[in-house]
Symmetry: C2
Subunit: 190 residues, 2 copies
């Protein structure tokens, strides 16, 4: 029985989303799995913008329940961290006990990205935490992103693959995704 992999990520926001997700879907099929992509199913019409958004949310939740596993594109999106929709989906799949893998195309880790966000203006507070000028502490756990994301993946035997794409290929480079797929295929084969 072929396993179904849900492809979570901000790929849906790309101007060439269909091409990119099509390319990923082909890679998933070539690895012996069935791809489930957000955007694959037709969204029922709605009278309001919000109704449409809710319908898409329901479709995506349904696809996740139907899937056996997820590969989440956790490349930083519009800022220092992963896309929040993808983070929601990763948590959703973790709670359902699915097989969870993730990747990022940015090599710089969470701590360094946050330090850069603050222009390096960090201080150590009396409690030992490292903080930005706004007083907010920065997680310092040698992790790719927030500890719930890294922890959710690693505690379930998943792998968070770190790639290093060029700036102009952050959302289109397929090397880290391919590595995720290779690792997942090897897991299911064993």
């Amino acid at each position: 029985m072929q396993k179904k992999i849900y492809l979570a990520g901000p790929d849906v926001f790309l101007s060439n989303a269909r091409d990119i997700l099509g390319q990923k879907a082909d890679m998933v099929r070539a690895a012996g799995f069935i791809p489930l992509c957000p955007g694959d199913l037709e969204v029922p019409p709605s009278d309001t913008k919000k109704g449409l958004g809710l319908a898409i949310s329901a479709i995506n939740e349904g696809m996740m329940r139907d899937a056996d596993a997820v590969i989440a594109n956790l490349t930083p999106f519009r800022g220092v961290a992963a896309d929040v929709g993808t983070s929601f989906e990763l948590g959703f799949m973790c709670a359902l006990g699915k097989v969870v893998y993730g990747y990022t195309n940015v090599e710089t880790d969470h701590f360094k990205r946050c330090a850069d966000f603050y222009g390096g203006a960090l201080t150590r507070s009396p409690d030992g935490r490292i903080r930005g000028p706004d007083g907010l502490s920065i997680e310092d756990f040698d992790m790719v992103d927030n500890l719930m994301l890294d922890g959710g993946i690693e505690s379930r035997g998943g792998i968070f693959v770190v790639g290093n794409a060029s700036e102009d290929a952050l959302y289109t480079d397929m090397q880290a995704f391919a590595e995720c797929l290779r690792l997942m295929a090897s897991r299911y084969a064993s």
Copy 2:
């Protein structure tokens, strides 16, 4: 039987995190619930930073499973969107079928925050989507944040409360949190 509410949010990163979470916990108790806060339980020692992060992740997941409901602080964090750890936790609780409420202390909606992120430099592409100069489309669904977050809450009968705190009280203003709590108490009472 008193219901347990998990308090998800970036509050843990505040320099006065203990005070703020203590204040929230008091409010939760006053409303007749039991608060479960990240940071309440002692983290077992670890030899590595990563081991510590994984231990905290496991504790938080355990608290979420133990909880009946969540109130998630989805105030934008270090950028245009909610905290990714909190977004993960919201998805986790949605998948577990828990009662899910959320709030933000920023009145500006997702679309406008993204437009501001791009300095208003938006275009409409041939497919009808509105995009930033980087080509990434902006969700335009009259929603507070990414549709998975809004959808996850609303489709389960939860409420996403929108507050409007002053800039210097984004993570300490309790009005929207109090409204979440009031709505949740009223739900459980009916």
